[in-house]
Assembly symmetry: C2
Homo-oligomer: 342 residues x 2
């Protein structure tokens, strides 16, 4: 049985969402060690496959993550990450603050050999598209990156897409402001040239923001600032358009009847626009699996985050990513460039 260490604190929708999500995952045969306040997690006591581990401290969204993780060893997310590092759990999942989760995971699980910076990757739901949604990375782990990082992200994303999402030969693209090889920042242009010359990856060149939802690539690579803004712009736009359709359906009685008749057919769209569906982002480039749920995840989102973590473990995502990186040589040039200690 694969066991996930789950942060039992910090979810915006409270311990109730965590309890319900953990129960759903346990029913699917997943083992869980849930770190948090035993009183608030009391409903999990005695549930088969679930163990509640007391964690007295919590890191909140307004704390600086690095300092908070360093000085709060009893925080639920720090204990959960240590549980994975020490081999009691197989993967980490959290619906708490993204920064604290990433930092705790990075400190406890450490970077893969040769990886300069881990990246946060998320599947973008594509309303109405065929095939699996594309993977966007980095969506927020690194606000500033260099070309060598973008090249590594391409390999990290391709390996994950292949191992966990089942895309046989992932098409990889760089996010930029035009399709031409010379469009974009100096780092994007340099990464484009390196990826175009690289082996072991199906590089399709640049795509623009409007193609993010078009199924043009299986893996889209960008820096964590642009990726985070783009991801949230997509979420915000989808929500605004959906709200405008709803408002139109409330604007007069005929439209209201039309809206009711259309509603069942819109079910799939609503599901795709729901952040709960993807279950969160995965931190790639570590020696272990760490999934960061959407902050506003409900039970379904938390259960999906746990399932994603299990899939990554079962598909040996870390080992397969390390093997691809090794074959590609992308870590060798990175090792020459890197400044940070490993």
């Amino acid at each position: 049985m694969t066991t996930v260490a789950l942060d039992g604190r910090g979810a915006e929708r409270g311990a109730e969402a965590i309890v319900a999500g953990a129960r759903a995952a346990a029913e699917a045969g997943i083992g869980l060690r849930v770190f948090g306040d035993p009183e608030r997690l009391a409903a999990l006591t005695g549930v088969g496959g679930i163990e509640v581990v007391a964690a007295q401290e919590e890191i909140t969204n307004d704390q600086e993550p690095v300092a908070a993780v360093r000085r709060t060893p009893e925080a639920s997310i720090v204990l959960a990450a240590a549980d994975v590092a020490e081999g009691r759990s197989d993967a980490l999942a959290s619906a708490g603050p993204t920064g604290a989760t990433m930092t705790a995971a990075l400190f406890a699980l450490r970077r893969m050999h040769g990886v300069r910076r881990p990246a946060l990757a998320l599947q973008l739901a594509v309303p109405g598209a065929d095939g699996p949604p594309g993977l966007l990375l980095d969506v927020g782990a690194n606000t500033e990156v260099r070309s060598v990082d973008l090249v590594q992200f391409a390999y990290l994303g391709a390996a994950f897409s292949q191992a966990v999402l089942g895309v046989e030969r992932p098409r990889v693209a760089l996010l930029s402001v035009g399709e031409e090889a010379k469009k974009g920042t100096a780092d994007v242009v340099e990464a484009h040239a390196e990826l175009a010359a690289s082996n072991g990856i199906d590089f399709r060149g640049n795509i623009e923001g409007r193609d993010l939802l078009g199924g043009a690539a299986d893996v889209v690579v960008t820096d964590g600032f642009t990726g985070n803004v783009a991801l949230k712009a997509i979420e915000g736009t989808a929500r605004a358009v959906a709200a405008a359709v709803g408002a139109a359906a409330r604007s007069n009685p005929i439209a209201a009847i039309g809206g009711l008749m259309l509603r069942p057919a819109l079910g799939g769209l609503r599901r795709e626009l729901d952040p709960d569906t993807t279950g969160g982002a995965i931190l790639l480039g570590l020696r272990g699996v760490a999934v960061v749920g959407h902050g506003s995840s409900g039970p379904e989102g938390i259960a999906n985050a746990i399932r994603l973590a299990v899939r990554a473990v079962d598909q040996r995502a870390v080992e397969r990513t390390a093997a691809l990186l090794e074959r590609s040589g992308a870590t060798r040039s990175a090792m020459r460039d890197r400044k940070e200690p490993e």
Copy 2:
């Protein structure tokens, strides 16, 4: 009568779109000098207020803009920009390639005193929102900027919002990956600190990508790489969601009837999602007015681009922007930092 120099070449939807757009603008009492192929623009000959000026060359989207503008003095966009610089027209409008339009405008109209980099600004349509849509800048003029540029963009955007969009006291925000002052790239963090300490601007701090359509700010400032990606991600998402709603309405007979009943109420939404509605982006920070239409503009989009240019001239946008910049001191610190020759 305000006269606009219009590039009569390069529109993706051809000379027909330009002819129809120019006619609509002329009917509204706007003077036009249209630069292009007299044969393809023949339908404009004799139309009151319109003069066709022969321009034998065209700069296409696949040419490098700076080199192309320099070596093609007879290109329609170069002649049109010169027409404004030499005072025969009051403003420039184009639905041709964005890079060539920006470069021709920059070379001919030149930067305002103290402005390091002009920025491309665009109103974001907000489905269902009250009040005027927010202005996003830079949406693509500069892929890499420093904090001093972001601070200048804030003043350029605020002045335009006030002068042309009629927002009495524009609320200005920085686009970042979190609301806290320390979130974002080093340049964003620095710009935040400078704007928070600045006078003459109503700075509201950082907003995230999901707030771009939420009416949280009248002016949203970012670099041209992020702004371009965000803008296109918004366009692509709106189109994908609208297409998914359409597909749902075609999925079964009951949904189809519902879709028909809802359709009239959705009219406003469709208009708001249509890039033709805004009529294009305006290049701020120059000593003249230059509007860059959406590449895929139809007649309505081209007419709106022309109207936007006229509004900027009539509202004395350039003079008012220069005055705000002067009062703010934002150009003085920029002058100390700048490296480019004026």
